[in-house]
């Protein structure tokens, strides 16, 4: 009996060792093929798509004919993407193309040396004409570019969402709302006459900055940098700004007047309340077509208006990009692939939506209607490339890409596009500031008395070493600016 037990155990161990060896053997064989069409792997964050093979088959027909390469897309869970790509780069695993941006952060990846420099490839390529200059500017780190931004909305603009039925009920003229405080009379009306509705949603969204026409940017947490009217670079802690108290004091007064839910400090997640339409007014991101999108995905209608100027800041362009891995064996082909995806509308829409008739249908107005359970619906065209080539979804107006393009072009451009702050000299201080910011973020809801908040905040930031960081940032900015 017990001998049997031992025998089974040794069997299993033998099995383990054999599979290990077999694994080694198997892998070395694959490289022995003859002159096949090379296959490029592309790592993209997102859920695995069951029917990806049939899409890839169609994709490969196009790519083989046009550039002589096949494509293999690997979807990796969004939540794991950063970690997986870090490992892939550090471990020297081969991949040809990868997504970089809001996950697998661009600047970090470049710093780790995981991405190939693309300047020499871009010169003389068709991408140079296909994408506007600001896209390349936004993707620069120092003087070089390591990834091609997926063209889409690249601006930041604060907006205000207002429940449409309430706005109509109280005859709100939205054209008069130019900044946050303009909405106050409406909040009062809602508070007086509506039950079961919170007039204003704050929570993690805070209140936004006062619009004074100066383009300030937070290049590292807790600081604010801008170029003043004399062309001098200014860097100060955020708490030193004249406009700093604007939003907290407004929110505080709103909290005292009862426009903000009284339990706001203890509410962790108010998503469900938002979905249920329990807020009359809330802050959100504004972009062209956002209203139509909101109304088509929510159970109630909203009016969404901009309350700030559109800005293209230092980080705006780098939220979604495509890069080439440094270990790629076929960097030329990989670049051609990026070029093709960004310029070939048919290929691009195949990647975004799958095969027409199998994975989606077009309705009478030419909008994409997904087929349920078809096995391919990444539902994120901005992950693949130039979104302005994408088919439209229901709720998007026909000219949405045209308007978005103009929005991008009309946006104020950051003077610091391409600058990357090297945190190394002040690493400790930056980490401490992040802790302080985390602490006071939860206080920016209006629920705390303002006096304590502001003085403590200033003091804590100072102790954390914000002045040293500002000085360092300023000297780096000066050096960078002079070299331009």
């Amino acid at each position: 009996m017990k001998k049997m037990f031992l025998r089974i155990a040794s069997f299993i161990m033998a099995g383990v060792i054999c599979t290990g060896l077999a694994g080694c053997g198997g892998n070395s064989e694959t490289s022995g093929g003859e002159t096949e069409v090379p296959t490029l792997t592309w790592m993209i964050p997102g859920d695995k798509q069951e029917d990806i093979q049939s899409v890839l088959a169609e994709v490969n027909k196009i790519t083989e004919a046009k550039i002589g390469a096949k494509l293999d897309i690997q979807f990796i869970d969004t939540g794991a993407f950063t970690e997986r790509m870090t490992m892939n780069m550090a471990g020297g695993n081969e991949f040809d193309l990868c997504f970089t941006g809001y996950v697998n952060p661009y600047q970090q990846s470049v710093k780790r040396g995981g991405l190939l420099e693309l300047d020499s490839y871009i010169e003389g390529s068709s991408l140079k004409d296909a994408l506007p200059q600001y896209a390349f500017d936004a993707g620069k780190i120092g003087d070089s570019i390591y990834a091609i931004p997926n063209l889409q909305i690249m601006t930041e603009c604060t907006g205000l969402g207002i429940r449409k039925d309430l706005a109509e009920k109280y005859n709100l003229d939205v054209s008069t709302i130019k900044s946050l405080e303009d909405i106050e009379p409406f909040l009062e009306q809602v508070k007086q006459n509506e039950t079961g509705v919170y007039p204003f949603r704050t929570g993690k969204y805070g209140g936004g900055e006062k619009n004074d026409g100066v383009f300030r940017e937070t290049l590292t947490s807790g600081t604010s940098a801008w170029i003043d009217e004399n062309g001098e670079i200014q860097v100060v802690p955020v708490t030193e700004l004249e406009s700093f108290e604007y939003s907290p004091s407004l929110l505080r007064s709103w909290f005292e007047k009862g426009y903000i839910r009284s339990d706001v400090a203890s509410v962790v997640d108010d998503t469900e309340d938002g979905n249920a339409g329990k807020f009359a007014v809330w802050r959100c991101a504004y972009k062209p077509g956002v209203e139509a999108e909101f109304n088509s995905t929510n159970s109630y209608e909203a009016i969404i208006i901009p309350i700030s100027e559109p800005k293209m800041s230092n980080g705006s362009g780098v939220a979604a990009m495509t890069a080439i891995g440094r270990k790629s064996k076929n960097p030329d082909l990989a670049f051609k692939m990026i070029e093709l995806v960004n310029t070939d509308v048919e290929l691009y829409n195949l990647l975004c939506f799958g095969i027409e008739g199998k994975h989606y249908n077009l309705d009478e107005t030419g909008k994409v209607v997904y087929i349920d359970g078809s096995g391919y619906a990444p539902k994120a065209s901005w992950k693949f490339g130039n979104q302005f080539n994408a088919l439209l979804l229901p709720g998007q107006s026909d000219d949405v890409w045209e308007v978005t393009k103009q929005f991008n072009e009309g946006a104020k451009k950051s003077s610091f596009l391409g600058f990357v702050f090297d945190v190394e000299p002040v690493r400790t201080e930056v980490a401490q500031i992040a802790t302080v910011q985390g602490k006071y973020k939860s206080l920016s809801t209006g629920a705390e008395p303002l006096e304590n908040y502001i003085d403590d905040y200033k003091a804590d930031l100072k102790t954390a070493g914000v002045e040293k960081v500002c000085a360092e940032l300023k000297s780096q900015l000066d050096a960078w600016y002079a070299s331009k």
């Binding site: 809001y102 889409q152 997640d269 539902k379």
Partner: protein, 293 residues
């Protein structure tokens, strides 16, 4: 005197009832939330007893149960294999270390101990597992890399050392070899220690999501905990990003609160069953294993 005793008992009971409540109430809240309707949660918050019984969250999960059932199978499979193998290997190792006459014993002990202080680090481990052992995307990645945990080896060794050496000698006189001693004397006498180690090994594996995240691409090899973890991580990312990058609007339906709770119950279930079972065994084993002679 009697009164004093009664009072003491009352105090202790109250204290333990309180501690139990601290543990049980959150769990009951999760169960109840998973059985409530979404509307009630928004309206009234979490309730100990659901206002309206609603099974739609479970219906939503089991509408497409393939991935959950598959993850269950995989997780159960590797947890059991891992628990068996690791307990076996560690007890064999510990048995040898518990021998008085093993040559180079201190070297082996140090060799094992050393790995408690210094590990290879994440990146070298990753390279070893993926590029030299090619364990990624196989079920062996769950099993092989962590078969030996030094801490438990020493725990077992100490326990084995507590078994009187005389039994060992008696067995040798009766003609037993090392295997017989190990299998027929040491292991049966060490059931409580083995049960404890096996329990920790099992629970540790059952709750492992990191391995899946790092090494598994094949959807059919994903562990149960990762399935849950992934949903949570994705929700977090969406919530963080959806404000700043308006682009995400296109992407996603976030599973509702009730579905998340139901998911947690479904995933935690088996561990809840296994734990008391092992624990019973563990308590029994304590008395069985006491030294006789």
């Amino acid at each position: 005197m009697k009164k004093q005793k009664l009072l003491n008992q009352a105090i202790f009971n109250l204290l333990f009832i309180f501690v139990c409540m601290l543990v049980i109430i959150p769990f009951v809240l999760v169960v109840s939330a998973s059985l409530s309707s979404e509307k009630d949660i928004v309206e009234y918050g979490y309730q100990i007893i659901p206002k309206n019984l609603d099974l739609s969250a479970y219906r939503y999960i089991f509408k497409n149960p393939k991935s959950i059932i598959n993850a269950y199978k995989i997780t159960f499979l590797f947890s059991v294999i891992y628990t068996f193998l690791s307990t076996l290997l560690m007890s064999m190792l510990a048995h040898m270390l518990s021998k008085r006459n093993l040559k180079g014993k201190s070297f082996f002990a140090f060799y094992i101990y050393f790995t408690m202080l210094f590990s290879g680090g994440l990146v070298p481990t990753y390279i070893l597992n993926t590029q030299m052992l090619h364990l990624d995307d196989t079920i062996w990645i769950y099993i092989v890399p962590s078969l030996i945990t030094p801490w438990y080896v020493f725990l077992l060794r100490t326990f084995f050392q507590g078994i009187p050496y005389e039994i060992n000698e008696a067995a040798v006189v009766d003609g037993a070899n090392e295997y017989t001693i190990f299998l027929k004397i040491v292991l049966p006498l060490s059931k409580p220690a083995l049960a404890t180690v096996a329990l920790f090994m099992f629970l540790g594996k059952w709750n492992d999501w990191y391995t899946s995240m790092l090494y598994i691409n094949d959807e059919s090899l994903i562990s149960l905990q990762y399935l849950l973890q992934r949903i949570m991580q994705n929700i977090k990312l969406i919530q963080e990003a959806s404000y700043d990058t308006s682009m995400l609007a296109e992407t996603t339906e976030i599973p509702s609160e009730t579905v998340r709770m139901a998911m947690a119950i479904v995933v935690a279930g088996p561990a809840l069953v296994v734990f008391p079972f092992f624990q019973k065994y563990f308590v029994k084993g304590l008395t069985v294993g006491s030294v006789k002679g």
